[in-house]
Subunit: 140 residues, 2 copies
């Protein structure tokens, strides 16, 4: 089994509102394969998919019952402390909820957290120990 | 904000057991930057990180309280129905819990679901509408 993945699917409560959030706050564009049932965003080599949580549970044949912290986070790394600050400022102006303002992190980097309108965590980080290529792919 | 992400972090209950699961059942190797507090796996251009759920919540300054369905799934796509079946057979032999056996999917592909030892969903899928390059990156 190759060391890779193809799609991350976030189960959502309100597909339309969540799609609009990623389009307007993050400025991302959906793939044309998106429709009223599902939204796809092509990221670096993988897809981020937004799909109703009920439908995701139904598809996987698991219970959709769940509440509280969903226990995962996505990180968007940039190349400097300044870029972290600028991105936070930009997201703040777009009305994105700041969960933790950017600050020095115990692991030697600089980061903070925002979330989308349904509480999914995004860490915005500068990690001096992690190298990214021009496409934003991790090269380490 | 570029259309990409850097790290997916799964908050785990038992870091050692979860790391062993991904190493033995999936056959993946951790990065040397992994330690007793965190495990990193380099996937195609992104990292998958395993980190104690309590510590993740603490870092993001959110409550760690949460139960039930965590509302997300990861997908590992392959290039044929046969490859899906072979991978399920291999994972089953390795003791991986099969959540939904592979079958024709309503969206025109062929897929099923397994989960890791803490219930995080992995869909194993063949999607005839999605093209992957040699590295497993989505090219659409």
């Amino acid at each position: 089994m190759d060391q890779r993945l193809t799609i991350i699917t976030i189960g959502v409560e309100d597909l339309k509102a969540m799609t609009t959030f990623y389009e307007t706050a993050f400025g991302w564009k959906t793939l044309s394969s998106s429709n009223e049932q599902i939204s796809f965003f092509k990221l670096n080599g993988i897809l981020l998919s937004l799909y109703p949580k009920e439908d995701l549970a139904l598809d996987a044949e698991v219970s959709s019952e769940g509440s509280g912290f969903n226990g995962f986070a996505m990180a968007f790394n940039v190349n400097s402390i300044q870029e972290v600050n600028e991105l936070f400022e930009d997201l703040k102006q777009k009305g994105v909820q700041i969960i933790k303002p950017p600050q020095n992190a115990f692991w030697g980097g600089y980061s903070g957290y925002v979330c989308d309108i349904e509480g999914n965590l995004w860490e915005i980080a500068y990690n001096p120990f992690l190298n990214l290529d021009e496409s934003g792919n991790v090269t380490d």
